[in-house]
């Protein structure tokens, strides 16, 4: 396992819950008291949503779910650093970021239930529809950033992707373009150590963060389970982009505590000791310890947080099981923005086919 601690990892909150000073501390000097509690609440709620979705899948209400268990700090820390007008291009696992953007719970699971090809409206929450083609979104983020620059705006495009994705050509091409055009894009890599069953050591012989400087992009490694550090480095990267300083690369070192998706069985390829090891670095526990030490984890706060988490889970479940079934001819919708004569004929013929079952005594042509 590659180094998950040490010299080159930005950290502001230890696994033991101690807030440490460091050069990046300045970036989150404003995060104390209520703001710390807010981040804790975010992570607890997001974990609860994630667990509820996993349960819904096991109960047959969702066809599939990709859990983000263990990656809450990376997603909440970075997600809460973004401005409303920044734009996110993520993989299929960033429901924590979607939560920060204000995605509706039902929209988070719509596609996993199979009722629709996507959930949220990208322009309502400024987050692209999740990407299943590994790494493809890094090019989209770079292009969006190039267009933002053309507009003379100072918003930033943020690409979320995993360690496995960095082997894809598209991710490397994205860095070439981002550097050549000094695009205001942040490449946020969650190195969760695993790409399904393939360890990160198969994808990279050096730290993943070492690649970006080769493209001319400033890069760093951050403790991905440290919500304060993740926020700090993201804030820095965003400001660099907003001020015309171009792209940045962040490797958030974290751990995929769950399976790749609910269809995966990590016991077939992972050492169980590894999971135990990472549980000691849990992102929520460590913030809980800090809050407790600062007297911010009092009873009514935790009650409120748990109530909110339960409510979110309830809304997710309710939204999921009450999703209306798609219409029979919905499969033909939105293939084109206008009529396409060949497709329209196919829709018409299928409609007649369906109608033929309704005709009494069997259909006729």
């Amino acid at each position: 396992m590659r180094s998950v601690s040490g010299e080159n990892l930005v950290q502001l909150l230890t696994p033991e819950g101690t807030r440490v000073a460091g050069p990046y501390g300045e970036w989150v000097a404003d995060i104390d008291g209520a703001r710390l509690q807010g981040l804790y609440e975010d992570m607890v709620v997001v974990r609860r949503i994630d667990q509820e979705a996993t349960a819904l899948q096991r109960q047959g209400e969702l066809a599939l779910w990709p859990p983000l268990l263990g990656q809450e700090a990376a997603q909440i820390g970075s997600g809460r650093a973004l401005r409303k007008d920044d734009f996110v291009f993520s993989s299929y696992r960033e429901n924590g970021v979607a939560y920060c953007r204000g995605a509706d719970y039902t929209d988070m699971i719509r596609v996993w239930r199979g009722n629709a090809p996507s959930g949220w409206d990208p322009y309502e929450i400024n987050m692209a529809t999740p990407q299943v083609i590994i790494g493809a979104q890094t090019l989209h983020a770079t292009g969006y950033a190039m267009a933002t620059k053309l507009d003379g705006a100072d918003s930033v495009a943020v690409a979320y992707f995993g360690d496995g994705a960095t082997s894809q050509g598209d991710v490397n091409e994205a860095m070439v373009f981002a550097a050549s055009f000094q695009a205001p894009v942040v490449f946020f890599c969650q190195n969760n150590q695993w790409a399904i069953s393939e360890p990160v050591t198969l994808q990279a012989q050096r730290d993943i963060a070492d690649r970006a400087p080769g493209f001319g992009i400033p890069s760093l490694r951050v403790d991905g389970n440290d919500v304060l550090a993740c926020m700090a480095v993201t804030r820095e990267a965003l400001e660099r982009a907003r001020n015309g300083g171009g792209p940045s690369f962040i490797e958030a070192v974290t751990y995929r505590m769950g399976p790749h998706t609910t269809a995966d069985d990590p016991t077939r390829y992972r050492d169980p000791n590894e999971l135990e090891d990472w549980k000691r670095r849990d992102p929520i526990d460590r913030l809980g310890k800090l809050l407790e030490a600062e007297g911010l984890l009092a009873g009514d706060f935790t009650d409120r947080v748990n109530a909110k988490a339960d409510e979110a889970a309830g809304q997710l479940r309710q939204g999921c099981v009450t999703l209306p079934e798609p219409g029979e001819l919905d499969v033909f919708n939105n293939v084109y923005t206008t009529q396409h004569s060949v497709l329209e004929r196919q829709r018409d013929h299928y409609s007649r086919y369906l109608a033929s079952f309704e005709a009494a005594g069997g259909g006729t042509q």
């Binding site: 322009y123 692209a128 493809a136 495009a157 598209d170 994205a174 084109y336 206008t338």
Partner: protein, 336 residues
């Protein structure tokens, strides 16, 4: 009305599109300073700026992928793929993203990209420079596929393609880039639909369907056939997806005989789709099975051999003879 080359007609159409809409941005390799290896984007960077005519690093997937991102932000990118054979690194972005995003986002995100591709052979080029990949894209739902055959269509339809909110693959027959033709720059663009074929030469006996570079060859074949008393109706498909079946059916109902010709390989090519669909729609009007005159199922051959592969006037006339039941090269074989 002026006379200009095919290439200059596209250049002029691009210029008009860029003047008309500030969201139109060109991106491709060597399109800026050089004006494109075929000079199709000549002088556009000088006039519109490097921010709107972008020389891209050498990465086709990124050219398309960043265009997707630009479209997300409301731009109307026009991507140039330098040569047909280089489109494949971009295939994933085109098929998985460009073609599907409107569907996937249930209509919220539009992909109004135009992807310009010089295609086809007959220029004695090195390998991978003479491909005809249009069938892969015609088979991909969500894309529109256009192939123009003459300067007037090129001028008008590149603008229509750019204005269209659907992604359009715009195949330009590179061996025709130097050919001159009349272009009316004031023409009503609305009369150049992205879904309509055109009857180039009306006829009564045989329907001959072509697109791209072979439209001219088909017209030459029709003129030659006329000298033998055969009246060939030549149809320029122009739109490969969707195919204009209204025009095709009207023609085949009249002639009862269909020949389709294309440079691309026979198996799974456009000719197969036209033949199958027309057979379904016009079976009782057909006097003979449809005939396809196409490239062989081979990789595009070296320059000294390409004339065997590319359908020419004589091979097309052989196909016309076949569909008429006249003596032809396959007489006595397979029911001919």
């Amino acid at each position: 009305m002026s006379t200009m080359t095919f290439g200059r007609a596209i250049n002029t159409g691009l210029r008009k599109a860029m003047e008309h809409d500030s969201k139109v941005v060109l991106i491709g390799e060597d399109i800026g300073k050089l004006g494109g290896v075929f000079r199709i984007t000549d002088e556009l960077q000088k006039d519109f700026g490097a921010h709107r005519v972008i020389d891209a690093p050498l990465a086709e997937s990124a050219i398309l992928g960043t265009a997707v991102g630009m479209a997300y932000r409301g731009y109307r990118p026009v991507c140039e793929i330098q040569f047909d054979g280089f489109i494949y690194p971009a295939f994933n972005q085109i098929v998985s993203q460009v073609a599907k995003l409107h569907y996937r986002t249930q209509g919220r995100v539009k992909m109004p990209l135009t992807i310009r591709v010089p295609f086809g052979g007959g220029i004695g080029a090195a390998e991978h420079h003479s491909e005809s990949p249009e069938a892969y894209f015609m088979h991909t739902s969500g894309l529109r596929v256009i192939s123009v055959s003459n300067p007037q269509d090129a001028f008008a339809m590149i603008q229509q393609a750019i204005a269209c909110d659907d992604p359009v693959l715009f195949f330009e027959p590179k061996r025709r880039y130097h050919v001159k033709g009349e272009v009316d720059e004031e023409v009503d663009l609305g009369s150049f639909s992205l879904e309509q074929a055109r009857v180039e030469i009306p006829g009564e006996d045989v329907t001959l369907v072509a697109y791209g570079a072979l439209v001219q060859v088909a017209k030459d074949a029709a003129l030659a056939a006329r000298e033998e008393g055969i009246s060939v109706e030549v149809i320029d498909l122009r739109s490969l997806s969707p195919l204009d079946f209204a025009t095709l059916e009207a023609s085949v109902r009249k002639t009862g005989r269909l020949v389709i010709t294309h440079e691309a390989a026979m198996t799974g090519g456009l000719g197969a789709e036209v033949a199958a669909s027309i057979t379904e729609r016009c079976f009782y009007h057909l006097e003979h099975a449809p005939v396809r005159v196409t490239g062989f199922d081979i990789p595009y051959p070296p320059a000294k051999m390409e004339h065997h592969h590319l359908p020419d006037l004589d091979r097309i006339l052989d196909g016309v003879d076949r569909v008429l039941g006249r003596t032809n090269s396959l007489s006595g074989l397979e029911g001919n």
